[in-house]
Amino acid sequence: MESIKKARNRLRLYPKLIVECGPQATEYARCVALRDNVMKGDCAKEFEAFKVCVQEAAKRMKTRLMALGGRGSRFGSTETIQIHLFLGFVIRFMFIVYGEHHDKTNVLKYTDVDYHVFTDAASEVAQGGSPFDRHTYRYTPFLAWILLPNVYSHFIFGKILFSLLDCIASKLIYQLLLLDGQSKDTAVKCSFLWLYNPLVIGVSTRGSAEAIMAVLVLMTLYFMRLRLALLAGFSLGISIHFKLYPVIYCFPLYVSLTSHHLQDSIWRQILPNRSKLRLVIGTAISFFGLTGLGFFMYGEQYIEEAFLYHLSRTDTRHNFSIYFYLLYIGADYYIPGLNLATFGPQLLLIIVLGFKFSNRLDVPFALFTQTVVFVTFNKVITSQYFLWYLLLLPLIVSRLTMTSSKAILLTVLWIAAQVSWLLPAYLLEFHAVNAFVPIWLESIAFFSCNVGILMAVISSYMVVPTIHHHNSRKNR
């Protein structure tokens, strides 16, 4: 926390530094703004002048630059992050080994039921069949393919793969934060939010495939940050192919590719340009390519199980969603406008948030808030969905101007709201107590808690001056 505070103080001085170097900054900004698609080295001369000026100003003010600092300062951190990635993997491996032992000796299983479904589907594929021959397999067929070693070599292969992907995700978080101009120290600490998150460790080592999604979404952001729109599109398309929800990210990612000097016009933001087209083409190729390949190989059964099932699924059993009780007791009634009332707020907020934070440097924040809204306002919420936004939290946490006590308070509130939901749910499920109304009230409390946290996060989010980020990018 200390280093975050230091970093924040340093960041506060940035505007002053930039003011000191007004002429050089203007020169550099003009150079960048004039180009529609800035490439590395385009404005090297202007940047060099600006950099030298800022460094000298920093010396005068006795502060240290973060992103502008020499390359040498990053080498030490590479080791630190690697040690932590290794440690994170070892912890996960220990959980996997424990899980194997636990499952052999206990009736209640550590391994997730879905993992058995994946493995069964993989063995169907191994026998030359379709993964959809395994009842309840409702995922992309390529997941079963990826997990073929579960059948050929060892059952735990998939869990090890997911753990490795968790580490890759943490490394991507680290890299993204460095690109964002954070210090190595802050970047390492923020990546812990994923690497050492007990929820994440549990999910991956029990065999849920969320780590694949994590890497795909972070890859999208990483390529976006490097302005490799086509590759970003590829990752985004694959992630939508794997799970539908990242489709909500299309909008802010697309708009974020608008050139800066055109951002004040909504029309310009919607109109395509070359990098936008690259993003769209990349997304379309990978999404339709993979989905088409799946359809070609496994036919309508694939579309039915992997897409239509999820769209038409109506599971009215109790869950964290605020809509659960309404959908349960209202199932037999025709309520006009119910779809609009449940779907409308979710859609509206996702669009508004995507638009509001569509500046390319704020895109991670747009994605984070969109995901929070998507999950919080969804008709069904399970705890696995929380990972979808927890993944993006490390990317934005260093930009929040929030006291650590407030951050702790909000975290405790979030966990407490879930735990207190569990009590009536437990009484209903295991003691046949008619606790539907208490569960509903708890779901309202949890909903309000999430909305409150979202509002606090939005208010405390720090939009960093655009100019600073060009510098950090240049100095990669």
Binding site: D315, T316, P345, L348, F357, F447, V451
Partner: protein
């Protein structure tokens, strides 16, 4: 919907009564020649352990027979009502821990509520343990789950429904006893241990001193629909507005 349900019930009763009548006629010709079927009695006693939606169904079958049942395998044939289900993957995990061999011919959707779910057939294969002279015992305990039920009005109904689990049918398959005289009485049921083919099984007379076990499942109250609808939509609409206001206040440089 209701009419349809009634009709299928009537058809079910009709067919099962036909079957019963047919099975009454067969033994008349062979009557005293197959003591395994005609002189064996199965007393079924069962309990539902725990509370709530996830429970353990304990079934004890006491067989008394003039024949030696040492070489026999017992088939416990369950028909679960739409409000209950067995989870096949859970039963599979239980096998290494002493769970029974079983066969469930249907795919089971564990998510659907009672009114969208079918009756479930399940076959459990168990070896009898000798008790004392002429008596054997079979004991099976399996986890059973209950489904969500349609919500109803709390003013005219109690806010819970009972799901009754009828006693199972008991059938035998023996190596040494029975013989050709029993063949005409045999009925075809899935083979042990996992039901790939059809085998011949001999039905035995089943009775019980207790009624069918019943689980009580809480249901939602549709009287609250107005309140819940209003509150839920107000809360979500209010939250949407609050978030929009927060966004409006937020200055983006």
């Amino acid at each position: 919907m209701k009419v349809h349900l009634h009709r299928s019930n009537i058809m079910f009763c009709y067919y099962s009564s036909l079957l019963i009548i047919a099975s009454l006629f067969v033994p008349l010709s062979q009557s005293l020649t197959c003591p395994l079927v005609l002189k064996t009695n199965a007393q079924v006693e069962r309990r539902l352990l725990n509370e709530g939606f996830h429970r353990d169904l304990e079934t004890a079958v006491y067989l008394s027979s003039p024949e030696d049942l040492q070489s026999c395998l017992v088939l416990v044939k369950e028909v679960l009502p739409p409000g209950a289900y067995f989870d096949p993957s859970q039963l599979r995990f239980l096998k290494p821990f002493g769970g029974p061999d079983f066969y469930i011919p249907q795919m089971i959707n564990v998510e659907t509520p009672e009114h969208f779910s079918p009756r479930i057939l399940a076959y459990f294969y168990v070896l009898p343990k000798p008790l004392n002279h002429g008596r054997w015992m079979v004991n099976v305990t399996v986890p059973v789950h209950f489904r969500y039920h349609r919500a109803r009005s709390g003013t005219s109904h109690p806010l819970e429904v009972g799901v009754r689990l009828q006693h199972p049918a008991i059938l035998l398959q023996c190596e040494d006893v029975g013989g050709d005289v029993c063949t005409p009485l045999a009925q075809l049921e899935p083979c042990p241990p996992s039901g790939y083919n059809q085998c011949e099984w001999l039905p035995v007379h089943t009775f019980s001193t207790s009624e069918a076990v019943m689980a009580v499942i809480p249901v939602g109250n549709t009287d609250l629909l107005d309140v819940v609808l209003l509150t839920t939509t107000c809360v979500t609409a209010g939250a949407t507005l609050l978030i929009l206001v927060t966004l409006k206040k937020k200055k983006i440089s």
